[in-house]
C-alpha cells in the first residue's frame, strides 16, 4: 500500500466516522457542527489526493470556513447548545428509512462488484486554477452568470427572511 492509498483510507475513515458522529450526536448541536468541519477537511484532503487542488482549496474556504461558521453562528445565536430532541419515533419515518436503507445497501453491494478502470495519469496543471479558470470562463460562462444571480437572490432572500418585522 503506497502512502497515497494509506492517506486516502485514513481520510475516508475519518470523514465517515465524523459524519456518523454528526448525525448520531443527539445531545450537542455545537459538537455536531464541529464534526461537520472534520468531515469537510478530510474530504478536502481526498480532493488533493485526486489532484483537484483548486476544488480542495474552495472546499476548505467555503465549506469549512464560511458554511460551518454560519451554522455555528445560528446555533449559538439561538442558544441551542443542548439538543434534547431524540430522533423521530414515528412509525412512517422508520419504515421509510428502512426501505431507503435496504435499497441503498443493494446499490452499495452492486457498486462493490463493478470495477472502474485505473485512473490515467493527469496532464500538467490538471485541477489547478489556470485550467479551471479557462474552462469556467469560456465553456461555462453562462453557468457563472447564473450562479451569481442565484447568490444575489440568496442574499436578498436571507435578509428578508431573517430581519425583524418592520412596523409600517
Amino acid at each position: 500500500m503506497t502512502t497515497v492509498q494509506f492517506l486516502f483510507y485514513a481520510f475516508a475513515a475519518l470523514s465517515v466516522l465524523f459524519a456518523l458522529g454528526m448525525v448520531l450526536n443527539v445531545r450537542n448541536t455545537v459538537a455536531a457542527a464541529l464534526c461537520l468541519v472534520v468531515t469537510m477537511v478530510s474530504l478536502a484532503g481526498i480532493y488533493v489526493l485526486l489532484e483537484a487542488y483548486f476544488v480542495a482549496a474552495v472546499q476548505i474556504m467555503v465549506y469549512a470556513g464560511a458554511i460551518v461558521v454560519l451554522f455555528l453562528f445560528v446555533v449559538m445565536l439561538l442558544n441551542l447548545r443542548h439538543d434534547d430532541f431524540s430522533p423521530s419515533r414515528q412509525l412512517l419515518v422508520k419504515a421509510g428509512a428502512a426501505v431507503l436503507g435496504v435499497v441503498a445497501l443493494g446499490q452499495l453491494l452492486r457498486l462493490l462488484r463493478v470495477s472502474l478502470p485505473e485512473a490515467p495519469a493527469a496532464a500538467e496543471g490538471f485541477g489547478g486554477y489556470r485550467m479551471l479558470g479557462l474552462t469556467l470562463y469560456t465553456d461555462y460562462v453562462l453557468l457563472v452568470e447564473i450562479a451569481s444571480l442565484l447568490l444575489l437572490a440568496a442574499i436578498v432572500g436571507a435578509l428578508i427572511l431573517a430581519k425583524r418585522r418592520v412596523d409600517r
Partner: protein, 101 residues
C-alpha cells in the same frame, strides 16, 4: 494510485449517512447539516469520475457550482430557521406542521 471504485463507494456512504440524518433527526439545523453532507457526497463522486477523464474538467466545474448552490441554500435555510425560532420559539421540525396533511 487511489482506486476510483472506493472513492465512489465513500461518496455513496456519505450520501446515505446524510439521508439517515434528514430522515430521522428533528432538529432543523442538524437536518440542514445532513443536506450539506449529501451534497458533499455527490461532490466527491463528481471529482472521482472527473479523475477518470483528466482531459476535461467538467466534474470539477460542477463541484464549484454545487458549492455555490450549497452556500446560498444554507443562507436561506438558516434565515428560515431564525424566523421560525422567532415565531415559534423552537427549531423542532414537528412543531411546524402547517403544510402537513
Amino acid at each position: 494510485m487511489i482506486p476510483i471504485d472506493h472513492v465512489i463507494l465513500l461518496s455513496a456512504v456519505l450520501f446515505m449517512i446524510g439521508v439517515i440524518g434528514v430522515a430521522t433527526r428533528r432538529n432543523l439545523i442538524v437536518v440542514l447539516m445532513s443536506i450539506e453532507l449529501m451534497l458533499n457526497g455527490s461532490n466527491l463522486a463528481f471529482v472521482g469520475f472527473n479523475r477518470l477523464h483528466p482531459e476535461r474538467l467538467d466534474g470539477q466545474i460542477f463541484v464549484l457550482i454545487v458549492i455555490a448552490v450549497a452556500a446560498s441554500e444554507v443562507a436561506v435555510g438558516l434565515g428560515i430557521v431564525i424566523s421560525m425560532f422567532r415565531n415559534r420559539d423552537s427549531v423542532n421540525l414537528e412543531d411546524v406542521s402547517l403544510l402537513k396533511w
